[in-house]
Assembly symmetry: C2
Homo-oligomer: 292 residues x 2
Amino acid sequence: MVELGKKLFFDPRLSKSGFISCNSCHNLSMGGSDNLVSSVGHKWHQGPINSPTVLNSSMNLAQFWDGRAKDLKEQAGGPIGNPGEMSFTHDLAVAVLQSIPAYVEEFNKIFKVDKIDIDKVTTAISAFEETLVTPNARFDKWLKGDDKAITKEELAGYELFKSSGCTNCHNGPAVGGNSFQKMGVITPYTTKSAVLGRSAVTKDNADRFKFKVPTLRNVELTYPYFHDGGAATLSKAVEVMGQIQLGKKFTAEENASIVAFLKSLTGDQPKFGLPQLPPSSDTTPPPQPFGK
Amino acid sequence: MVELGKKLFFDPRLSKSGFISCNSCHNLSMGGSDNLVSSVGHKWHQGPINSPTVLNSSMNLAQFWDGRAKDLKEQAGGPIGNPGEMSFTHDLAVAVLQSIPAYVEEFNKIFKVDKIDIDKVTTAISAFEETLVTPNARFDKWLKGDDKAITKEELAGYELFKSSGCTNCHNGPAVGGNSFQKMGVITPYTTKSAVLGRSAVTKDNADRFKFKVPTLRNVELTYPYFHDGGAATLSKAVEVMGQIQLGKKFTAEENASIVAFLKSLTGDQPKFGLPQLPPSSDTTPPPQPFGK
């Protein structure tokens, strides 16, 4: 199941163009993100929001910045059908897979059916995504008792991270990902982004500008930061968070120590061979990168 | 050197957008090609020509369909600076790499210099590409004496491939890649493509519509076919080649047997772990997918 999901994650034939795969925006060579302010979609559509990392995403209380998908399986169907992302339909994506004998065989082996459907596609993709955890961060080693795993500066940063209140939101196994919080608690966040956040889902005005708190695991790799990608560097992100969420102005030294601590949260990246995708057959509908 | 080249091959930061890497159009999950009629470039630019496979490309007498690059090293610099492909400049690409400490360290280790330059970048990429060979095709096993490695139909296809004259052009270790030949020897090739072929390089009218004969290794994986991607299937490609190059009309059975033979040329695909790219630093110029 995981091997099948891995192939599907890397398969651009799940997009109308045949050019965009899950891995395009959640690039597993780059911390499970695309390192862009906002993502490139079908026909170079500019996405409205920064792509969150897929790493450790199974630990999130919900998926997408506004939590509109309850889990990874529900999330996986979103981009496939989004006109500004992969721009396909679930039916067309399934028809492509159904035309590829090696996929049909794999689905049959795992699900005991001859007919592929989108539910099975997203089940397999999410099964793969659940494996994308990043253990053995130096901070984890320190937590487990290895005093030398982090430096004095990183430890000072961790102490400051706790005492300043960052842990109010960034806590738990993923150091975040387990609550929706308002962006701009103390002072408003200045952004050109029109994205409303959680209120788009709940229709409750009280949820305006609430976003899922991102995990800070591997945050060194998942720049730029915030839902609008507005902070290019960790230093900027720490500065802005201090100001708008905590009403604090960190000194340069304090900022550097928190950044140092955050870099100790980078874990072992998922290790696997580049998947080989089964070839299309003569009856596979060809991708349409440049059609209407 | 190969490990460094592998990272560079997968690194979209060699493009202006930060979204397109060598692997985007020479996808090593898909036979080293993008399986599109013509490629998607910067801002969704439609490429003028079908992306040739990078697999076994070190065996080609020259690179690109028109042979305008003498080797893989020269080829590797082309797409980086092509406005319709990665749309960067060599200087900007080098500046990005130079701002990434882990890359600087790797280049230093291999080339004993502190300053990265485009020559070293393309040297490393081509060193990686030289490893992308695909041994142990069933046809190779048969050549080496394993009588059961190919079927009777495949053997019949091979005999027909030889006796019909396909081997006039498709010969040698890569079953092609070692000469430029006219597309449309017997009857003209009908295409909407405006690409001139070899004459664009030699400025010799006699070279109009001459193209590098593509390798047929892994041809099962590198659809669609021809410089214009005009043949969606192997069957169509064999039919058209028979007509325009050999003046032959293969029967359905003959066509099927040649296609069967061609599928016996699929070798072991390169096996390696998905590379992990070193993160950008605070001074790395951010990608510009949506800028001017």
